[in-house]
Subunit: 278 residues, 6 copies
Amino acid sequence: MLKGPFLSKNFIGSIENFDESKIVMLGMPMDSTVSNRPGSRFAPQSIRLESIGIETYSPTFEKDMEDTLFYDAGDLDLPFGNPKRQLDIIKENVDFIYKKGKKVLGIGGEHLVTYGEIEAVCDKFENLAVIQFDAHTDLRDEYLGESLTHSGVMKKIADIIGFENIAQIGIRSGEKREFDMMKKYNTLLKKPEELNRFKDKNIFLTIDLDVLDSSLMRGTGTPEAGGFTYNELLLWLYELRNFNIIGADIVELAPDIDPGKVSTAAACTLIREVLMLL
Amino acid sequence: MLKGPFLSKNFIGSIENFDESKIVMLGMPMDSTVSNRPGSRFAPQSIRLESIGIETYSPTFEKDMEDTLFYDAGDLDLPFGNPKRQLDIIKENVDFIYKKGKKVLGIGGEHLVTYGEIEAVCDKFENLAVIQFDAHTDLRDEYLGESLTHSGVMKKIADIIGFENIAQIGIRSGEKREFDMMKKYNTLLKKPEELNRFKDKNIFLTIDLDVLDSSLMRGTGTPEAGGFTYNELLLWLYELRNFNIIGADIVELAPDIDPGKVSTAAACTLIREVLMLL
Amino acid sequence: MLKGPFLSKNFIGSIENFDESKIVMLGMPMDSTVSNRPGSRFAPQSIRLESIGIETYSPTFEKDMEDTLFYDAGDLDLPFGNPKRQLDIIKENVDFIYKKGKKVLGIGGEHLVTYGEIEAVCDKFENLAVIQFDAHTDLRDEYLGESLTHSGVMKKIADIIGFENIAQIGIRSGEKREFDMMKKYNTLLKKPEELNRFKDKNIFLTIDLDVLDSSLMRGTGTPEAGGFTYNELLLWLYELRNFNIIGADIVELAPDIDPGKVSTAAACTLIREVLMLL
Amino acid sequence: MLKGPFLSKNFIGSIENFDESKIVMLGMPMDSTVSNRPGSRFAPQSIRLESIGIETYSPTFEKDMEDTLFYDAGDLDLPFGNPKRQLDIIKENVDFIYKKGKKVLGIGGEHLVTYGEIEAVCDKFENLAVIQFDAHTDLRDEYLGESLTHSGVMKKIADIIGFENIAQIGIRSGEKREFDMMKKYNTLLKKPEELNRFKDKNIFLTIDLDVLDSSLMRGTGTPEAGGFTYNELLLWLYELRNFNIIGADIVELAPDIDPGKVSTAAACTLIREVLMLL
Amino acid sequence: MLKGPFLSKNFIGSIENFDESKIVMLGMPMDSTVSNRPGSRFAPQSIRLESIGIETYSPTFEKDMEDTLFYDAGDLDLPFGNPKRQLDIIKENVDFIYKKGKKVLGIGGEHLVTYGEIEAVCDKFENLAVIQFDAHTDLRDEYLGESLTHSGVMKKIADIIGFENIAQIGIRSGEKREFDMMKKYNTLLKKPEELNRFKDKNIFLTIDLDVLDSSLMRGTGTPEAGGFTYNELLLWLYELRNFNIIGADIVELAPDIDPGKVSTAAACTLIREVLMLL
Amino acid sequence: MLKGPFLSKNFIGSIENFDESKIVMLGMPMDSTVSNRPGSRFAPQSIRLESIGIETYSPTFEKDMEDTLFYDAGDLDLPFGNPKRQLDIIKENVDFIYKKGKKVLGIGGEHLVTYGEIEAVCDKFENLAVIQFDAHTDLRDEYLGESLTHSGVMKKIADIIGFENIAQIGIRSGEKREFDMMKKYNTLLKKPEELNRFKDKNIFLTIDLDVLDSSLMRGTGTPEAGGFTYNELLLWLYELRNFNIIGADIVELAPDIDPGKVSTAAACTLIREVLMLL
């Protein structure tokens, strides 16, 4: 073959081989149910390209991505216009990953992809909990009559695993009914220490990037001011360093909204830190 | 009430009253089946705002928009994630417009909205023909298994009114199978004079803005180089000045892709010219 | 009429009727005296469109916008090139609002609009004070020989109501003479508690959005680093929750400078919170 | 002094000395009466910077800019908010240039600057004519009650030199009354040959860049589709190569609207060609 | 392995295997000697992603990309800051491709990459000629004292193969000395028919995308108005359909300058047409 | 000469005369060794233009720029493609400045310019130390085999002045080897008080703008989340107010990546504060 040297087509630090990997990074460019700005379909590709600009070493965790044995599997090709079929394809592939004894790191796509992932893992782990970082409650029953909507993903997950297995962090937007629901079920956490009650659970971590303040995270469909700084989010993640994280996803990056790709760059270093947790 | 003066919230030149209108401009922000860049959902709102920058007088047709008695009805609120329901809402509203003896000027949204409109008008007019300006053939049977797709809208319309009632203009992109179909049914027109065979028909005019060269029309999901200049498109429209146009739409503007809103401004003057034809 | 459902053309949560309203949101797209980047003329329209992406519920005040009975009156049509006439039109309309027993929520446009508003309200309220959130002192006598300038709006207001009735918050840019003036009259507040001395006043609240750090508020003519985070600004506003706010405005958003409209989105949620104070 | 080499701070090809120059390039960043997108105030600075990317040699005229002896005088500092005073400053400086026996090449700013220039030159040349390249008629009497408006600049000039001394080229937008006026006075030229009737005049050339098709000229306040290609405009200018051009301006570039600065680059090469005519 | 379906990471239509290919697409992200806007280093990656939006079928040549047996080899990893070493890496890899009996389709990067390619092929083909589409002559001896510069690439190639083996098309910018050189050696072609004198040569085709008018090709370091429309360029290429093209490259796309990626999309369809010629 | 008034072509507050100055601001648009996003070559020009929007008075230091007697010398014209020669030109000019008894304020360009500056000053000052604000360690020995690289500039400086004379602040990205080196030599400072050990040194201050959080500093080649806020950086600088600063530079602004020029505006006020320290 050609001599090269060549730039990798994968996320930086990915190993070349699925079989030897412990974590599978899987692009899920679903982008069908957002009512505000679309564009999360381009997130996995954009993240992959931008990853060339980051280092593989994490000063926070004092570890290198190359030690995590992750494999970048590329992006699913999803049929737009049919959310149900898109979720089925996601579920099927995630299912396969766990059957092979690996963990998934999903790259959205819109937040509804988490529902497909949870459908795949919910019967594989006892004591499953979902920890959600997000600006929005995502607890709606429906939106304009549709129950499959990114603004209702946590409600659908709660229907599977129960509200007692859900932690919500960074929430600052929602309907009154949704905030009432959070109070009723006490799902909203205010301080990293409160995570302790999930210590014995098998945790799926879902990070909607709009949990970050919109000054940093401009490249997302519904940016919200008043969110976490990057370092505040890191503190929460650091708290999870000895938890049993069985899978994770990072969703709702809409890279083209942010011309300088700063949001994408932040997503890349965040992915590095999440890999350290898996 | 307040003294003002106030800026209008409608498209420039709109009359204030639905009942007195002859033409109803209706925003159809459907944006569900595009696989490439989304964003046509924001087109009607963007067009309305930019219209303040154009003149109501058309030097081409030497007429003023204010003489056309059109009414800007605003934008439908469509449930994302369910193309079928979106089309039904479009159909229902267009149906009502024709029952009131008025014509529709649809503002997309993606090209699939035309299917909803044709479903509404096809039983109201004999001898119905559809004249399509477009860069793409839009003759696919399905895309990743979905038959409701903007790249198949003309195929679905042909299934209703027959290929002999379809004219395709400006096409420069498609699969080999699609180009073969155009040849078989002789739907592709090369010169404005060829329009004459549709002179006796009741014509629904559908303009996918990507028929324009991508140097001008940057704000669309799938821009294609090699298209018409604006003046070339005007020549085609001018040829239609004595035809019986019973309805029209202008689709696939994705305004935010084009930061300076030049595509939107061009869409606005084009809407003015189409109003002259209706 | 048409069946719909339709998207509203007003700011989210607006009631349909002027007469039943208690607060009138009025767009004042004045944009004539800025020497740096213009563009605030497009703010009210942009805010109206973006408002669709926010929730009507405020978790901070635990109230819903829909309970505030506000009416979005649309945007004044102002003659560019003549600042004096623009201010007169603003004054006249604001005058009418207060004569009808309602309060104004002005949406700039440039900061000079506040002068027009204060001219309208200054003879209707005893004990009037103006609380200004801003990066700039706005205390110039003139700019290149012109006394009507957005960088001198607070000086002109002080000439009417006296410096003792002015509070300035967030100021971090100005000439030495202006900072000396702030010291002399002790107008600069450093901590929310200092607001207490205005507790018995009738307060007009004016928020120049550049008080926010330029990392968040990029869409403004003269962005300044070193400003408040969104949450810091919220803390100040929360302190005002039991004050007697008789009117307010939010000015100097220049939406097109910020391609992703994040500044506009932040302005929208801020408007929601200010509505809670009125 | 420092050794360098240094980049020039002037437009490429400018000589270093006012006194030895034959042509004075003068920035006129007036930007006060446009109702649509502002931003032409930044044009002269932007043009100066971008000029580094063009060549000084014109293949069209087979001459080099360096032979034209032009001097880039920099940009006037104009008081925003007072159009009258801005025009007076322009008039005064242009007056001085002609008294020194030189010609002006004005760089707008908005089109109203031409009025200031013509006020300065109208009593210095007999037989003065103005040749206008523009998308818009600019023949309004007033706009929202203001007579000093960029959309009425040619009407004000016609009031001075008479309609018989005005040629309008490229016009494609205006009110019916304005088009009627053009017909009445026969000011609209369709072919370069028609310029011959101005051959014996002293010609001031004014180019509103929106005469170019909006596919190329995106960076202008009111871009219009259907205009000249760059080469078509060059043909018109080439026709003028043996005319007596006594001054010129190039106006209405709004550089920041066009992120890639392509409009600015085109303005730079156009300035080179106009220098060849002076 | 995972079930998928997956999106390809290669240029659309690429086969999976180097050995079976006849044409090798090779990314050469060199971006070191441009003095104006840089950014061509991101072109190959951007082209690869955008290619998903085009069709593999060419209506011009009535052939499908999938029949050309091309293989997308990915992008070379080049050491910035050292043009000489970058060219050596390019030469080495291109050399290998031809030794395997395949042709190269180089994707720049800046125009200097062509020099590396020609160094590799010049001793493999007798009767070698280079046909250059470009806005700029690229005939400089040096730029600020550096002889390795993108504005001198054709001069360096002429030094190898002689001016009689060079055709230059679309040139509209250069120094007087360069235009004199073109005249002296008669390298500038005006009409497609003039290509006939190269019919018996082994032709390497190099397309600097700025040959296209800057209205379409905004995403390039030195955009020039007055260039070819896309269809005009196609006509030239069509003329070459029976020539012996032994290699080609497409250079100087700077994708991030053009936010909507219209330039990149045009480059993708152009690549498709060039593949038909190889 | 012309009457004016004119806008200055220099950075705001610059005196007109090199000889009377104490500080020389020198543009160093080197942009050759960055592997990620280029564009810092445009920083000095962009900073100069944007400076018109800031005040000359610093509320932090309660001084005015006009009292610092600085002279804006303009930008060096550097030969792209040859880093060695570019550094020599920088060195030569900085050398001259210090021989005239003045201090330099370098405006990058990429971070490698600091190496050229230190080469010029290292033999003029005893007890020289370099204080670096940066997101990246910049301690690499080479990058793809090149030792002249912006990611190794501090290593090359350490080779001259020793690691004991280096302070690194804000670092959050680098290879494991680089972080180990920082630990070994204890170069990383965490709190402003730790600066005290440099109190007796002659300090050259180098600020890579990416030390600021990427929410604010989007306009840089390798933006990093998790950095200082603007006010945090001001605190560090304020700590240095009684130190002996003998020169400084501000590097790695890439202005065009940030469409609204907010990064450039922040760089301008930062330059004002650094001038107060010199």
